[in-house]
Structure formats: structure tokens, C-alpha cells
Symmetry: C2
Subunit: 277 residues, 2 copies
């Protein structure tokens, strides 16, 4: 496995890869969810490129950029074990040169949910993903369903801007008790960590109702809300039952839908979702 | 020369091209200026791709989208004579699918001059150029110095978004009397056509002063303004003497600068510029 930092080294290394190239963009502090993306890429492509970059432009001024967890040696070991050929670890200085002034923005899809809770977040995401796509030049790129709205936004961006890249969205990987893997889980203290199973449990409550025939979106959202209310350490930011493609809130679930939520435990913000097919 | 319309046909045709690919994006109704771009591309690349697309998103609501001149058979003949391998003539319907919602925007550089005169224009330009770049996948792309601010904006976008594409800006091609070639010259009636030499003449007046040592930007702008005022059919929209890279208005010309202007003749709006080295 080769590790490069500068654009020039990335481009030189990229030219040595032939055949289908799969790309796994990450912010590092990798967990089994990221590894599952790299493994899936390896099963579908001749070679796999990963990037590790904590992108400052997708963090709000009061968010956790400064304390976002980092562990490069452990990340590189995991990527190498997953069969990744090339890892790119760009610097913020080279990524955002003095005078940087170009932004990629997806409009409607970025307004609700995470976009409403985190103003500017998706503009940072779509801009950095465009830069990474242009620099790496992959045939396929792999994202996790955990960030469901991000996956929808990237799909829309790729379609609207004609990127010649297939976007592959991979299933959420969970702890044995149901908590979705996230680099931010490290922020939780032991009591919060235990309380955090409420995301999975509340989504499950709504899915059980759905599986039993409940189609009223308000009822499904209420089931999540009630379950979260039963957990004293949890503070619900939003629960949504929305159209899978447009992310518009539903009255009745008639087509593929996304049930999603954001919850605070102290200052730690976690998200999770289920797809209702 | 092959002509394709759909994305699918473009991608299939693009895959048959090997070696360096040069790209000439146009809005059609080609003149010798466009041909010079194709010839330059042919001299530097193994094959040349051109596109013809009158991009609706770069026209304002009161601009000339509906009457923008078109002559596809003549355009194709000129491109074939210039040695172009592949011409892409996409439809607006396939370019902007229902639900389209992603925009590429360059900020500071697009505020003055054409950006101020034509709100939204550059967002349309940078978005379509991103789409064309992604669809065509060229190694080099060719633009005319006639649209000086557009060239600066595209260079900034390519740098900021890490497009692996060299931007080549080619000199303005002029009529024998100095009028810069433009598809919009067709709008001029014979009197206006004659009056339109005032752009070249006024820029020349300023350049003569510059060549004689004048470095005060206000003086250079005044020379242009006075010359335009002497032409009854001309209505000056702006004259600028700005830093070549940042497009910030100058007090004193100390480095490479752009002297540029926009003039109305009736409803027809023409632009022109000189670079002061």
C-alpha cells in the first residue's frame, strides 16, 4: 500500500493504477463501517484508493472540527488489511489554497434534516467530494447508508454534474446492541454509550409498526419520539419519515421511504436511519 | 468527424479516442475565433472534441436566449474543416433533467464587470462547464480571451476544484477594422456595425497612453469613456482597468492588468478587452 500527501504525488501514483478504480473517501478514525466500504470496493474494482481528510468546510463554527478524533497509524493499518492500494492524506493547506472561492451546492435535497440542523454542512461536503473525485478520478465511489442524506445528495450531484462515477451506497454496520458505528461514538461516556442504543430501539419500534401495516408517517414519527423520550440522557433533534429520493416529509408511506433521526447525548450528536421498502 | 447528441453516444465515442484530448466548448454560430481554438487544440492534442450548446442557465430573463443565432450545418462544416474528431450537440432536456438542483459557483471573481451586469450569468457558465468537463473528460480545454472574465473564472474554478485539465486561453480574433469577432455581431445593423469599431478604437487610445507611460487607471478609463462618448450610437455600460488575476479595480497599473468594457448598440451588448502587460 502506498501513502501520498501532495496532489502531485497522488496524480503520479494514480497513473500507475489501471483497470477499474474504486474510491473510499473518509475523514479517518476508521471503524468497521469504513472497512466494509473498502472491502466492497475491492470486490468490485481492480484497485482501491482511499482518502483521509477531516474537511474543515463541512463543520459549522460551533461543531467538533478541533476535537474530531484522529489516529492515522491505526487507519493505515486497517486500510492496508482491507486491501487498499493507495491512500491519500492531503493537507488542509493544499486542499484550500489562499484565494479559494469555488463552491458546489445541491439545493432542495440539502434543505431539511442535516442541512437544516447544520447550515453550510452539505456545501462543504459536495465541494470536497467534487475535489476528491476530480483529483482521484475513480470509476466507482463508496459511501455509507449511515449518512443517508449525504448519500442522496452525492447521488443527485453526480447525476446533475455528469460525473462519470458510479455511487455505491453500503449498509450501516452496527454494534451487537444495535448502535450504528460512527467515529463520533468515542465522545460518549459509558452512561451515554448505553443510552445511545435508543436510536436503534426507537427506529425498530417504528419499523415493527410499519411491518405490521402502519403507513401513517405521523404515527411512525411518534413512535420514535416516544421511545427517545423514555431515555433521560437523550435529547431528540429531529425525527423524519420522508420520501427516499426527494427527502420530502410524508403523510402516508406509499413508496420507498427514509426514517431518520438525530439525537444529542450531552454535546455529542448522533444520527441513524432505517429504509422502509 | 462524428456528431453525437446523447450522453450515452458521447461516452461511447469518447472511449474510442486515445492520447491527449483537447476540448472546445461553444454555443455554436461559430466564427474564426472559435475555429482558432479548434486549430490550436489540434496542434497540441491527439484529438479534438467540440460541443455546441446554447446554455439556457447562463442567460438572464431579459437576455437574448430565444434569439441567440444558430446554424448547425455551417458550424459542423467549420469544425470538420478545422480537424475536429467529435462534436457533441446535447439537448437542453438531457442537460437539465427534471429535478436538476446542483450549481457550481465561483465567488469573488464573478462579482464585478460581467457578473454585476449579468446576475447569475457566471453560475450558469461554471455549472455547464463543469458538466461538459465531466462528460467529455478532456486533458486540455480552450477558451477565448474575448471573454476575459470568463477565462479568469474558469481558471479559478479548475484550480479550486482540482480538475485535471489544462486551460488554454487563445487571443482575440478581430475583423480588419478591429471589431472583435462575436456571434452577437450579427445583431448589429449596418450603422451600428460601423459604430462598433469604437470598442477597439477606445481601447487602443488607452493602450497608446499606457505605452507612452501612463499608469493612472482613472486616466486610462477616462480615455475609453471619452472615445465612446464621441460615438452617438454607443452607450457605455462599464469600463474597467483591473488586476489581471483578481479583477479588482486598480488605482495605478503596476502589474499585468485587464482593460475591459461593455457597450450597448441599441439592444445589442458587445464586450472587448486588452491585456496590459
Amino acid at each position: 500500500m502506498q501513502t501520498v500527501t501532495t496532489f502531485a504525488d497522488l496524480r503520479a501514483a494514480r497513473r500507475t493504477l489501471s483497470g477499474m478504480v474504486g474510491f473510499v473517501p473518509t475523514m479517518g478514525y476508521l471503524h468497521t463501517g469504513h472497512v466494509s466500504l473498502a472491502l466492497r470496493a475491492g470486490s468490485e474494482c481492480a484497485s482501491v484508493v482511499a482518502s483521509i481528510f477531516v474537511n474543515p468546510t463541512q463543520f459549522g463554527p460551533n461543531e467538533d472540527l478541533a476535537k474530531y478524533p484522529r489516529d492515522l497509524p491505526r487507519d493505515l493499518a486497517q486500510l492496508e488489511a482491507a486491501g487498499v492500494e493507495l491512500v491519500w492524506t492531503p493537507t488542509p493547506e493544499e486542499m484550500y489554497l489562499p484565494g479559494f472561492q469555488t463552491w458546489v451546492a445541491v439545493e432542495g435535497l440539502t434543505r431539511p434534516l442535516e442541512g437544516e440542523a447544520r447550515p453550510g454542512h452539505f456545501r462543504g461536503v459536495t465541494t470536497i467530494v467534487t475535489k476528491l473525485f476530480n483529483a482521484v478520478g475513480p470509476d466507482k465511489a463508496y459511501f455509507g447508508q449511515k449518512d443517508a442524506q449525504q448519500a442522496a445528495v452525492i447521488r443527485q450531484m453526480v447525476k446533475d454534474l455528469n460525473f462519470p462515477i458510479d455511487i455505491v451506497v453500503c449498509p450501516i454496520v452496527r454494534e451487537p446492541d444495535g448502535l450504528a458505528l460512527s467515529s463520533r461514538n468515542i465522545y460518549l461516556n459509558p452512561e451515554e454509550r448505553q443510552a445511545a442504543t435508543v436510536l436503534f430501539l426507537s427506529l425498530n419500534a417504528a419499523r415493527s409498526a410499519y411491518d405490521s401495516g402502519e403507513r401513517a408517517a405521523d404515527k411512525l414519527r411518534s413512535l420514535v419520539r416516544e421511545k427517545v423520550a423514555s431515555e433521560p440522557l437523550a435529547r431528540l433533534q429531529y425525527v423524519s419519515c420522508a420520501d427516499y429520493d426527494t427527502l420530502e416529509e410524508l403523510e402516508t408511506v406509499r413508496r420507498k421511504a427514509l426514517l431518520s433521526m438525530a439525537v444529542y447525548f450531552g454535546k455529542t450528536r448522533l444520527i441513524d436511519n432505517f429504509v422502509l421498502e
